[in-house]
């Protein structure tokens, strides 16, 4: 808990998934408790509710069960966020629930994660939920995966059982294209291999869960190839008192990919006009270069017309530019997705009307096989669709850039967020017309 006063630490975001009762809440409670991130009044509140509902026993899971409706139903119904820190890192945990019908919550909680922890009950081994969660983690391109085999105390800490479950996973993992997967035997209830090493697993030589969370390399989790600045807000001072800002015109946004340097060539899309970077303006003074995911304001050499929703890009790794899009979507609404329906599509800072022209297939999440030609996608279904947008979209494939390759669909009228989409790589990239842009 005590942080060294001026030592900069980085931040890791992870989510936990597993089916109901696999021990997610207990695990998060354990992480907070053993890493000394709980306070007296939180422990007091735990003890108070233990007397009322738990027959006197402290229940670590209560720490993360926030809402009244949940307490009444005894289940976690939404995504809850927890925060804790060690001297090496800060952590944001998204607690994503495990019901079959709650795929949408896992997608929500995991979309920004560097790492996912999939919990498995050692007695049950791989069940449909384990496949589902691993599959979603892979679709969302979570860079790191931990398979935590929990409740090892209930299988006598059997190495044989651990290997059996690991082998079950390894049978299907190759199909999912996950690069970094760790297996870990654990008891969240008793705290073995969560923060402290367990004496009961002499056969396990890997790190504890917290040890892994503290040391996994996340430096390359952001895309640093191909500069992308989705323009969020045009910065144009109104009647400034300071004459320096009379002609100031900057383009503000969060860099969604790559690096940018003063003096380099850039192009604004969709206009296709090329210019150079005159200044990288920040409140803390000008910078020579900036990178993803910094928030900056670019001042350009020429006065070209750029507005919110446009994208400023660099000369290499060109994006796609099309109004005909292919994507995997996770459907999140009780009213199913049908072809022919119109939605708002929000992609980076750009919102356009879009119509679903076809549903190519629905993913069978248990065997990872796409099933062709479904008539609709229901709540929590994942499938491949084709969309036509009213104006072209400037995008990358989700597999190369999570920020410029993702979108949401918004239902017209209710304004509900009904889908999370992951774009396929562009079939062709934008063709710069200005010849001086070619390097």
């Amino acid at each position: 808990m005590a942080l060294p006063a001026h030592h900069p630490v980085d931040l890791l975001r992870f989510n936990t998934c597993g089916s109901v009762d696999d021990g997610k809440s207990t695990l998060i409670g354990r992480l907070l408790y053993d890493s000394k991130n709980l306070m007296e009044d939180q422990i007091e509140a735990l003890e108070r509710s233990a007397d009322i509902t738990g027959g006197g026993q402290i229940n670590l899971a209560n720490l993360t069960d926030g809402l009244r409706a949940e307490r009444e139903q005894g289940i976690t119904i939404d995504v809850a966020y927890r925060y804790f820190a060690t001297p090496r890192r800060k952590f944001i945990v998204a607690d994503t629930p495990g019901h079959v019908q709650y795929t949408r919550n896992m997608v929500t909680g995991a979309s920004n994660a560097n790492l996912s922890v999939v919990l498995v009950d050692a007695r049950q081994g791989v069940i449909e939920q384990s496949r589902r969660h691993t599959c979603i983690a892979s679709l969302l391109r979570i860079p790191h995966l931990v398979i935590a085999i929990n409740k090892m105390d209930l299988v006598n800490w059997s190495e044989e059982r651990f290997i059996e479950i690991r082998d079950e996973f390894e049978e299907f993992l190759p199909r999912l294209d996950m690069k970094d997967v760790k297996f870990l035997p654990m008891s969240a209830l008793e705290g073995d291999n969560v923060v402290e090493f367990s004496a009961k697993t002499p056969w396990y030589t890997g790190p504890t869960l917290l040890g892994h969370l503290e040391s996994v390399h996340i430096g390359s989790d952001w895309n640093l190839n191909g500069f992308r600045l989705p323009v969020q807000w045009v910065n144009r001072p109104n009647n400034p008192t300071d004459p320096r800002w009379h002609d100031f015109r900057g383009f503000s946004g969060q860099i969604a990919g790559g690096l940018v340097r003063v003096g380099q060539k850039v192009m604004a899309l969709p206009s296709g006009l090329a210019t150079t970077v005159k200044e990288i303006w920040t409140y803390d003074g000008p910078e020579d270069e900036a990178f993803c995911p910094q928030s900056i304001t670019l001042v350009l050499e020429h006065d070209i017309d750029v507005s919110r929703g446009d994208m400023i890009i660099g000369p290499d790794h060109l994006p796609g530019f099309s109004s005909d899009l292919f994507a995997d979507v996770c459907w999140m609404n009780p009213r199913p997705l049908q072809t022919g329906r119109k939605y708002f599509l929000k992609h980076t800072t750009h919102t356009v009307q879009a119509v679903v022209t076809s549903i190519e297939n629905r993913l069978n999440i248990s065997n990872f096989e796409p099933e062709p030609g479904p008539s609709e996608l229901a709540m929590n279904d994942i499938g491949e669709i084709r969309l036509r947008t009213a104006r072209p979209v400037i995008f990358d494939g989700y597999e190369t850039n999570r920020l410029t390759g993702s979108f949401i669909l918004i239902e017209q009228g209710t304004n509900a967020t009904v889908a999370a989409g992951m774009l396929f790589p562009p079939r062709e990239v934008v063709k710069p017309e200005a010849s001086d842009f070619v390097i």
Binding site: L11, Y81, Y83, R104, V107, W245, Q254, E289, T349
Partner: protein, 312 residues
């Protein structure tokens, strides 16, 4: 810049700036809730970072309970002026005087009464979005809160019917009468806030630092003794919040850890008189920040009930 990697404060900062610019771009009439407390002080710096050299494109709004520490109000006014922002103040007193809401019997805290005052201001100025400084680590019910928290036309929060928030794509669309609360500091902890105050060298109101104060003991914590009631023509706004004869009084060296208002803010005994001291104190603290707020103790579900009714 040699390494292309952000530390945790830089990450939280860029995330919050992104959120603020989304608000400026997507809403027609946003406001920024500014109380003068440490969280909203950070919000102002983030607004400067998001929008300078332009003016911050939204007014500041504060709902006064009438129980504020005078130091806080002075700080609030001074800071708004310094930034050249328009500050709108609406009060619980006014809501009571107009009979829009009534104080229930025995109710001393005015936190509940801030709700109609806030909703009144939203209606009066037709605000479609209010940026607030709430953090998810403050309280259990907040842990599920979104960055963009949708409120229906009665200003209510329905925890079961929130929009999923995926990647950094915020759905800001509203129908007439609906409203959004936006929390750029969602992912910040109390420690992050103080580390940011230190890093940015932000000025904070003096009551965060240790000072001598007359206090009394109630409900397991020390509360400040309110200023004397002088205007005999009006009822005492602090009725119920004054020490009873049997309650222990003491002059102590204290500071406040979180600022609600004088009635519901417990003070803690502390000698911390610099930001470094405060950070060291929090690192060693054994009680969460909200453990010093009387209004949450009433019931474990207190915060959730207030939020459903339209609290920040």
């Amino acid at each position: 810049m040699h390494s292309y990697h952000l530390d945790h404060l830089q990450y939280l900062e860029t995330e919050a700036i992104h959120v603020m610019r989304e608000v400026a771009a997507e809403f027609e009439r946003p406001a920024l809730l500014f109380s003068g407390g440490k969280d909203s002080i950070c919000l102002l710096r983030l607004a400067e970072k998001a929008f300078r050299p332009s003016d911050i494109p939204m007014p500041f709004l504060n709902i006064e309970t009438g129980h504020e520490f005078p130091e806080l109000l002075a700080f609030r006014d001074h800071r708004a002026k310094e930034l050249g922002a328009k500050l709108i103040v609406r009060t619980v007193d006014d809501v009571l005087a107009r009979g829009v809401a009534v104080q229930s019997f025995g109710e001393t805290s005015r936190n509940r009464l801030q709700i109609p005052a806030l909703l009144g201001a939203i209606e009066e100025f037709r605000f479609d979005c209010c940026i607030g400084g709430a953090r998810r680590d403050e309280e259990k019910a907040r842990a599920k809160e979104r960055f963009f928290s949708f409120r229906d036309s009665f200003g209510q929060w329905d925890p079961k019917n929130q929009r999923p928030e995926i990647w950094n794509l915020y759905n800001a669309r509203l129908n007439p009468g609906e409203n959004m609360r936006v929390f750029p500091l969602s992912n910040w902890t109390e420690m992050d806030v103080w580390e940011y105050v230190r890093k940015e060298k932000l000025e904070v109101p003096s009551i965060y630092f240790s000072h001598e104060r007359e206090c009394f003991r109630r409900g397991g914590q020390w509360l400040p003794i309110p200023p004397p009631h002088t205007d005999n023509g009006r009822p005492d706004p602090y009725a119920g919040a004054r020490p009873k004869p049997n309650e222990k009084r003491a002059k102590l060296i204290v500071r406040v850890r979180t600022i609600a208002d004088m009635i519901s803010t417990g003070v803690i005994e502390s000698r911390a008189d610099s930001i470094d001291d405060i950070i060291a104190e929090i690192a060693a603290a054994r009680v969460t920040e909200r453990g010093t707020r009387a209004d949450d103790k009433a019931s474990e579900a207190a915060m959730e009930d207030r939020k459903r009714a339209g609290y920040f």
